[in-house]
């Protein structure tokens, strides 16, 4: 009778991990045992009780920096994905619903964006914007929204033909009501799945831009730039890279697991329970 499904155990665990990650991100400044930017005269210390992940070449506490760096990376990623999802969906739905000149223009722009490999175009744009975290987010956002616009548009086009949409017109729905009540709920599911599946990729790409010096600038703690900064010391002082690298790995893994879980959970072909709970 009800439309709500039980959340299976595995997805529950993944969601728990994601919540934990979010809590760490939100509370990062409070959780830091040291000031992440305070330089001491003990550079490149291996992990110890005082410095759980050791210190970097300026003597800054790596554990604190990883926590704050995680906050930067995760927040930037969430903002980026939320932005491209919102913009892409809005543009796509508008194009599909109203069509015409708007559709033609927006879809040609999408064609251009999608013709290039995304990261390469983002690199070019980030270079053009001359570095900075906000600029990197903007560059990635500019090249990534067309995917969502395409999805939303094709879904809208198919839905527009559906009998139940015509029936809603017969019931006297205005255009806005039609969109809100009958179209968006159908479109948002797959978009949401794509968005969560994209979280990990986007986090990697943002870190990648930072790694190349086109994202967050020192001394801002950000995972990508921390890895980049520790690159030359990988042989001699591996913890300088392991700490941010490990955090990155865990965060991306959690994002991907959440994405998979959401996909299975919302999959219309498995309206009883998620596939992996058989």
């Amino acid at each position: 009778m009800t439309h709500s499904k039980r959340i299976p155990l595995r997805f529950g665990v993944v969601l728990g991990l994601a919540l934990l990650l979010l809590a760490v991100v939100v509370l990062a400044p409070q959780l830091c045992p040291h000031d992440p930017n305070a330089q001491t005269f003990a550079p490149l210390q291996p992990p110890s009780l005082a410095h759980w992940c050791g210190t970097d070449r300026y003597g800054r506490d790596l554990f604190s920096r990883v926590l704050v760096g995680l906050q930067t990376s995760v927040c930037a990623t969430l903002a980026l994905v939320a932005g491209i999802t919102a913009v892409g969906t809005a543009v796509g739905v508008a194009c599909g619903y109203w069509g015409g000149v708007l559709d033609a223009v927006a879809m040609r722009v999408c064609d251009v964006c999608l013709a290039f490999p995304g990261l390469v175009l983002a690199l070019a744009l980030a270079t053009l914007f001359q570095g900075g975290l906000l600029q990197a987010v903007l560059a990635l956002g500019l090249v990534s929204w067309p995917k969502y616009a395409r999805m939303a548009r094709s879904q809208t086009l198919t839905l527009k033909q559906a009998d139940f949409i015509q029936a809603a017109k017969l019931a006297g729905d205005t255009g806005g009501q039609l969109l809100r009540r009958h179209m968006l709920p159908h479109i948002l599911g797959p978009i949401l799945v794509t968005a969560t599946l994209d979280l990990g990729t986007m986090m990697m790409e943002l870190a990648g831009l930072s790694f190349l010096g086109l994202g967050a600038q020192p001394p801002t703690a950000e995972l990508g730039s921390m890895i980049s900064g520790g690159r030359s010391m990988m042989q001699t002082h591996p913890w300088v890279i392991f700490a941010p690298g490990g955090a990155m790995f865990v965060a991306v893994a959690i994002c991907n697991l959440v994405g998979d879980g959401v996909r299975d959970y919302l999959d219309p072909r498995n309206s009883g329970r998620p596939l992996y709970d058989k």
């Binding site: 009778m1 139940f164 015509q166 809603a168 019931a171 006297g172």
Partner: protein, 255 residues
């Protein structure tokens, strides 16, 4: 008397990419008077559903004009169109596809009332009352389209068409998913409504016996054109056109 629905030389061509254009409805004119039931028969693909969608303004005609109760509604949009739908309703050929899979049947049936400013409580009552009249239990209002059978969904679709007390209902094979007794029930209900509220119906139907019993006049469609019209007796027992003869012959095979 002024016709409630009038189509004037309406045509519809579909342009399918990579194929020659198909003319689904070709220069059709028809009149439907208040209280009258007009049958529309024809083979699969002859353009019956397209004609109904054109009349309901869900499709734009390629040419011709559509009149509802003396008003030209060919170009009606937005507010005007919503006013049109308070007088005219359509029952879709595929009932289960005509309900939003994410909304309950009750939501679907009551939507037009809610849009007209009816309170939730009042709408709920009216929906349940109508469901009962259409032969469904009240609790069906809380079910989702995938939780009911095709026939039950068809009854719900009828309830939805009737809920706003329209003057004209276009019925696209409204009994195709029902067994014979339920067909009879539904038709009796429709007849009751017709006599009480002066409702007019355009009834698309493959069952000639049913058309004979229920319709005042019958149109025969073939490849988008109206090839014959007349009383059910004329069309079914003394068909003039080859199409009508084929239909009548095929039907009598089973008698």
């Amino acid at each position: 008397m002024r016709p409630i629905l009038q189509l004037d030389e309406v045509s519809k061509t579909f342009a399918v990419r990579g194929k020659p254009k198909t003319t689904a409805v070709d220069n059709v004119s028809l009149c439907l008077y208040p209280g009258e039931t007009l049958g529309l028969v024809g083979q699969s693909g002859s353009g019956k559903s397209t004609l109904a969608r054109l009349a309901a303004r869900l499709l734009d005609p390629s040419s011709g004009s559509i009149w509802l109760d003396g008003r030209d509604i060919t170009g009606a949009r937005g507010r005007q169109l919503r006013a049109v739908y308070r007088e005219m309703q359509l029952v879709f050929q595929a009932p289960s596809a005509s309900f939003d899979p994410r909304k309950t049947l009750g939501d679907g049936i009551g939507e037009s009332l809610r849009n007209q400013g009816c309170s939730k409580l009042e709408t709920g009552k009216r929906v349940e009352q109508l469901l009962e009249q259409c032969g469904l239990e009240r609790e069906y209002a809380r079910r989702y389209p995938h939780e009911v059978s095709g026939g039950e969904c068809q009854r719900a679709a009828l309830a939805r068409a009737l809920v706003g007390k329209p003057k004209l209902i276009l019925l696209d094979e409204p009994t195709s998913a029902l067994d014979v007794t339920s067909q009879r029930q539904i038709l009796d209900l429709l007849a009751q409504w017709r006599d009480r509220e002066q409702l007019s119906y355009l009834l698309i139907c493959h069952n000639l016996a049913l058309v004979e019993h229920f319709c005042h006049r019958v149109l025969v469609m073939d490849q988008g054109e109206i090839v014959e019209q007349g009383t059910p007796e004329q069309v079914i027992f003394h068909p003039a056109s080859p199409t009508a003869r084929r239909l009548a012959d095929a039907a009598s095979l089973w008698k």
